[in-house]
Each structure stands twice: as structure tokens, then as C-alpha cells.
Subunit: 341 residues, 2 copies
DNA sequence: TTGAAAGCGCTAACAA
DNA sequence: TTGTTAGCGCTTTCAA
């Protein structure tokens, strides 16, 4: 192995010089074009191995105009198991097509402009397409990018201003089903612990909840609705306050998994007989010491579905934009017998 | 917005023609070189906007030889919260340096050759460097790649055959500390539920366990060691069999989080008073209805540390390879009062 | 079957 | 301040 030129990778020229052939011949061998004399080909392969030649994909893609075999995934919070399962679904779909995945994730909150910049950066890199889990805002600036051949699929929220494919959860239906289940179980006072309602999926979830409550003839009680919560700790505190009411809820519905976490803690701490319902199932839910009614779905499949749609588009599908809704199911889990602290 | 040429992105030439200047001038404007007359510059910017011009990074990097501002992360199981936290740590370190992250993940088991192919693919893409969470095997084929300027940092396992940086957990020390804690609590019969011992971190964990047991004068009992377990279900079954022994263990140590999950289930199902110990903390561990002694660490920091080392190397650090050990702590958690099914 | 020339979209080096 | 020329590493085209 020639290691004399650290930092400089050998090019076709170097291989050609060593093998005593033209660069085009080396190119043919490297790309396994069959029209090369076997004797020459093996000489070339030897030179390739000796130099540790590794084709420069940037150069080859540039010249050939071939796709970069890269897709992007733009999301916020990859540490949430919900998003990491989605990522896994996308990753395995990509791998099945020998495509690499750029995950443009960020832990902190980024604003709308930064998110667009991330997307534009992926465009400059000429990804073949991307999946966006949007944080919200106006995405019309993406229209030209899509029209110029970078297909995008939106996950978890459909941007009305854009004619793109989107893959969504049945947010309203799932929440509705959870509340229906609680009503069936005889609950009438149901606390609601919510995230920011401006986030479309969260707003939809509240809509589903309200529909179910209306149909059951349960009146709104402002004391039983807290919104704008962003982490387990604040959900825990909000739930604790609710449980301190003169007429506390017998069940609490949480808009997403992080909030469920906090509410479960609050319920357990007081040894309350409260049922906790919520969007998103989670690992260990079967062992959590409070009764749970969860809206579950296959997050990995959710990501894979988005990737499949994206690869259809990359493959040339020009049919009208689709809106795919992934179904949810209700899972009753948790430990029914409660424990005292 | 000119949308007449779907699929073909405008180039510097198109912008130059529209603005009536040379391509170099457009290049200057796009790259914010200050020596351009403001009148011309604004005319160019207008043309850029009108055409939706987006520079081709492949071309610019090729010509300028600039780094691709991309790093790779090669791992197996991104769905495990352990790996997704690592990914988040790497991702935020990358974002802080305006670098994109390619996560070459795979859910299925890939063999050594496939893993190397993934790495070589990243080399062909000319990533600036990569972090590898190795599945095991011989990595000496990577030596030329490293020497030619693609720095690599290994995470979770150090390949002896390579002079690379590695970032490791204190596997032996953490396990040892967990067993020490159990011994302190009076346990002498401690079941061991292990993954494949050939995986270096897992082997190390067993070593730590054995050291602690030896020092405490506890003799090996082959009935109390099960190895080769790969998922919660098989760990659950193995634990159930152990608990059925005439002289069952009073504590069970698990080599990693998925196994802990299964063992917790088995212990809870029988209402056994067994303490469950294990490597890796997890969300909700505080609410799991069995007493837990967990080896905890900051997985996000673990990933960030690897990324920091990598960026040092990318920045030109040529000092001898380092081996960084990330510390662990012991967390006693879980619910002490047990519940009956 | 092999190779020479041109050029992908861009920037470096230099000239005007 | 602006433009021209050459060329990054590769593939395409076409000729030998």
C-alpha cells in the first residue's frame, strides 16, 4: 500500500500512470464495464489496490449527472423515541435502495428560517429528495426547489401552501378513540394536558378529544385543560394541580409521550386511582404502575411509508400529491394494581 | 420564479446570462466576495432569485478542494435509545460546526464485509471523517483510508489493529460498581444475564462482574450465568428459569438495557423480591415496579465526545491516538414496593 | 478494445 | 472591479 502521500487521495490519473494505461481504461475497470481485456483489467485492479484508489463520487456524479444516492431527513428532536423510530424506518428504506441518509437534526429549538436554511443546504448538496418533519411556519419558499426536481415528503404535518405528499397520523381519530374508551369506562371528568396547540398534530388531537367529549355530552371545563406544556416536569406539575382540585379528574389525557411521562409520575406519586391516557405508546408502558390507555402506532412504519412515497417520486412518479394517513390503535396497558410510594 | 425548466437546475451560466455579467461575477456575488459593485451585485441577486439558483456544492467542493462539511456515523441499531442519544450528541456537535451528518444505520444484522462497504461508501463520498460504532471484526482494511486523510473515531470498542482514537465506556468499572453495590446490600446469589461475550463491551462487563464477585469471595455458579441473549423476550425466559431454581438468585445483573427490560418483566410477573441490576439507565426507570441498580452514563455526551475528537482530527490534530474512557455512575431506582400482578 | 478530447459546474490564478 | 483561462476528477462522445 503506497502511503507516501498522506492527505492526497490518488486519482484516476495516478492509477493510469501506474498501470500504464489511459484514465478511461481505469474508469472502465472501476465501473466494471466488461469491454476491457482481462489482462489489462487485472493490472489496473492491482494498481487500484496498491494505491488504495477510491473513486471520487463528487466528480463522477458531477460529470454524469447521476443522482447522489442521498436523501435528507429534517427533524428536530431525534432523542425522542418517536422520532428515532421514524428515523430507523427511513434509514432501512434508504439502505434497501443503497442510498445514504443525511439526518439534519437539531436538539435545540430552531426557528423557521434556520429550518429552511437546513433544507436549502440539502438542496445545494443535491440530495435526491428529502423528508421533512416540519416545525411549523410557511414553507412556500420550497416550491421552486420541488419544481426543480428535489422531491419532498412532509411527515406529521401537511403544509397547505405546498402541493406535496404528506404522511400523517390519524391524530384526531386516535385521540377520539382514546376518549371514547375512557367514556366507555365511565369517566366523565377527564383532564387534558397539552402541548402547544399551534402545532398542527397537537391541535388535531385536541379536536378529536373535543369531538368525543361533545358527543358524550361532557361539558368543557377550563380547569381540566392545560396547554403549552413542553416537558415532563411541567406536565407533572400541571397534573398535580389538577389532582388537587375539589373535583379532580378520574382520567387524564396527554397529547404526547413526554407529557404522559410527567403525568404518570404525578399520578403515581399521589397514589391516585386516575387512569392516564395519551398519544404515543412507549417501551416499558406495560410495566408502568398506573393504568394506561394509549394511542399507539407503528412509528417505524410511519417513517418507512414516507420514504416509500419519496422514492416513488425520485423514481419519476408525477401523479398528484397524496396525503396518506397512518392508522392508530388503542392499547390498554400499564399495571392496574397501583403501588403506594 | 422561472419554473419552465423542471428538473434542470440553473447554473452560474444561466444567472450570468440573465444578469448580463460573467459567471465569475456571479460566483463572487454568491460567495459574498466584497469586491463587486453594489449595482451589479443587486442585479445578480435578482437574477439568482428569479431563477431560483442554488449553487451546486458538488462542483464547488470539487474545484476548490474544500472539505465536504459532512461526517459519517456508522452504527447498527439506531432504534435503541442508547444509540439514538449518541446520535443526538453527534448531531448537535456537527450542527455546531455547520456540518451535515450521514447516519449509516441498519436495523438488521450486517456482516463485517457489509459494514466495511458502508464505510468505503462514505470514503467515496469524501466525508471529512467518521465515527464508527463497530460491530466487531477486523478493521485493518481501513488503515489506508485513515492515512489518506479520512479520520475515524471508534466508539464503544477499540480495534487493536488500528491506531485510531476511541471513546469507550468504563464497562468493567461500571459493572464492577454495580455488583459491589449488590454485595453491600447483602446479595450473594447474583444471576447474570448476558449478551454475546465476543462483543468487546459485553465481555468487559462480564470481566468487571467477575472481579467484583471474586473479591467478595462469591464462587461462580454456572446455573446463574446465561449468555448469548439478544432480545428482551429471551432474557425474560432465561430470568424466569433462574427464578425457578431451588436456590434462586436474590439479584440479577443484565448486560444491557434490552435484557434488563426482559428481566424486569420476568421478576415482576412472579412478584419476586429480586433486585434487578443492569448496564444502561432508561426513561421511566424510576417508575418500574422492581428495585433497580443501574449503571448509568450520559449517552449524549458520549456521542459528543467522539464528535469533538473527530473534529479535532479534521482540524489537523496529528497527536498520537487517544483512548478516552467515559465514566459511569450507579443509580438506584425503580419502585421499592413491589406490586402483585 | 482502447484512448483523446471535451465538458459537468464551479473556483483559482491571473490579466485587463 | 471585472473577466478570461484553465482545471478539479470524473464520464461522455467519438475516433482510432
Amino acid at each position: 500500500m503506497d502511503t507516501t502521500r498522506e492527505g492526497r487521495r490518488p486519482t484516476l490519473h495516478d492509477v493510469a500512470a501506474l498501470a500504464g494505461v489511459s484514465i478511461k481504461t481505469v474508469s472502465r475497470v472501476v465501473n466494471e464495464v466488461s469491454t476491457v481485456d482481462e489482462g489489462i483489467a487485472s493490472r489496473v485492479r492491482e494498481a487500484v489496490a496498491q494505491l488504495g484508489y477510491r473513486p471520487n463520487q463528487l466528480a463522477s456524479r458531477l460529470r454524469s449527472g447521476a443522482p447522489t444516492a442521498t436523501i435528507g431527513l429534517v427533524l428536530k428532536d431525534i432523542s425522542n423515541e418517536f422520532y428515532s423510530s421514524i428515523t430507523l424506518g427511513v434509514a432501512s428504506a434508504a439502505r434497501a435502495r443503497s442510498t445514504q441518509l443525511i439526518t439534519a437534526a437539531s436538539d435545540e429549538d430552531i426557528d423557521s428560517a434556520e429550518e429552511l436554511d437546513l433544507i436549502f443546504d440539502l438542496c445545494r448538496r443535491r440530495v435526491d429528495g428529502m423528508i421533512v418533519i416540519p416545525r411549523g411556519g410557511d414553507y412556500s419558499a420550497l416550491r421552486p426547489e420541488i419544481e426543480m426536481g428535489t422531491p419532498m415528503v412532509f411527515l406529521d404535518r401537511h403544509p397547505e401552501e405546498l402541493a406535496v405528499d404528506s404522511v400523517l397520523l390519524d391524530n384526531a381519530g386516535g385521540s377520539r378513540a382514546a376518549i371514547d374508551r375512557l367514556i366507555e369506562q365511565g369517566h366523565r371528568r377527564i383532564g387534558l394536558i397539552f402541548h402547544e396547540l399551534e402545532l398542527e398534530p397537537i391541535g388535531e388531537r385536541l379536536r378529536g378529544v373535543r369531538d368525543a367529549l361533545d358527543d358524550a355530552g361532557v361539558a368543557d371545563d377550563p380547569e381540566l385543560l392545560v396547554t403549552g406544556l413542553r416537558d415532563p416536569q411541567s406536565a407533572r406539575e400541571a397534573a398535580a394541580r389538577m389532582l388537587d382540585l375539589d373535583d379532580p379528574p378520574t382520567a387524564i389525557f396527554c397529547a404526547y409521550n413526554r407529557l404522559t411521562e410527567g403525568v404518570v409520575t404525578a399520578v403515581w406519586e399521589r397514589g391516585a386511582p386516575t387512569v392516564v391516557a395519551g398519544f404515543d405508546d412507549f417501551r416499558f408502558s406495560a410495566l408502568v404502575p398506573v393504568p394506561l390507555v394509549l394511542v399507539a402506532y407503528d412509528a417505524q412504519r410511519y417513517g418507512r411509508t414516507a420514504a416509500d412515497v419519496l422514492f416513488d417520486r425520485i423514481g419519476g412518479d408525477r401523479s398528484p400529491a397524496r396525503r396518506i394517513v397512518v392508522p392508530t390503535t388503542i392499547v390498554e396497558t400499564g399495571l392496574r394494581a397501583t403501588v403506594r410510594p
